[in-house]
């Protein structure tokens, strides 16, 4: 059982590393938000679940469940607020961007 | 292992503090000060002081950032200095 917990923790840390790599290398603010939110949320959840499975005698399970639920609810919310603010102040998009529907809708709402 | 965590977090924290001083953009300087407080709370935790760590995370990162942003908003609205 401890080995299963350790392997889940390792998988979670690899997801955390890939999310941070995406934050470092993506060309655009919105790509960075997407990489830095989804991958790190999954990575943190796997990390916490792995530690809880491996150390059931030390770590209280209920607090970890509350923490996981909290992260699952708040992390997409904050990144959504951030993406909305970034689009509102007209942050430049990457060169490879094909379409931007929100800008079209906001232009239509203006007059 | 705790020594490695301590050294890495201390180096990152010193870099954030230097950036908070030399940054030209005021919002970036405020966010850098918040990062310094967040990392300082982990160092307090490694030195086995959980109550100090909780206070530092609540006041240093949350309250100070919001108060600084409020003050910056007031200054920008009155048009004195940006």
């Amino acid at each position: 059982m401890q080995l299963v917990g350790a392997i889940i923790t390792l998988i979670g840390s690899i997801f955390l590393f890939l999310g941070a790599l995406g934050v470092f290398r993506m060309p655009d603010v919105f790509n960075r938000i997407q990489a830095g939110t989804k991958a790190t949320t999954l990575g943190t959840m796997l990390f916490l679940i792995g530690i809880t499975i491996g150390h059931t005698d030390v770590v209280p399970t209920l607090k970890i469940i509350i923490l996981i639920l909290f992260i699952l609810f708040t992390n997409p919310l904050s990144s959504h607020a951030l993406a909305r603010a970034a689009h509102y102040i007209k942050t430049p998009l990457a060169e490879e961007t094909v379409r931007d529907d929100l800008a079209k809708d906001e232009d239509r709402k203006e007059p | 292992m705790e020594l490695v965590i301590l050294v890495v977090i201390s180096l990152v924290m010193i870099a954030a503090a230097i950036m908070a001083i030399y940054s030209k953009n005021l919002i970036s300087a405020i966010i850098s000060a918040g990062v310094v407080s967040l990392l300082a709370s982990i160092i307090y935790l490694l030195l086995a002081a959980p109550d100090v760590a909780m206070t530092e995370a609540a006041i240093g990162s949350g309250l100070t950032t919001v108060v600084f942003l409020y003050a910056l908003n007031k200054m920008r609205k009155s048009g004195k200095d940006g």
Partner: protein, 86 residues
């Protein structure tokens, strides 16, 4: 055996923290820095739980809870400031 795997996981999380901090330094605009701060906070939250498991004291997990709450409030405040002012 399992201790070595936990140590490797902690080192990988530390490397991720350094990568996110490099984006925090390089980021051309303030929005990039806030994104880097978001992922930096999440990574350090998992590091706090790992420290709590290593030292065997369960009160450290409460600090992780407070940490997540405070970071959420701070990031929403910064986003609202960037949009139209607090």
């Amino acid at each position: 055996m399992t201790d070595i795997i936990y140590a490797i996981a902690t080192y990988i999380a530390l490397a991720a923290m350094v990568l996110a901090f490099l984006r925090f330094i390089l980021g051309p605009k303030a929005v990039d820095r806030v994104v880097a701060l978001d992922s930096l906070t999440i990574i350090s939250l998992s590091l706090i739980v790992c420290i709590a498991c290593m030292s065997g004291r369960t009160i450290y997990i409460d600090i992780a809870l407070v940490y997540g709450l405070i970071s959420f409030v701070g990031i929403v405040a910064i986003a609202r400031y960037l949009e139209r002012g607090v």
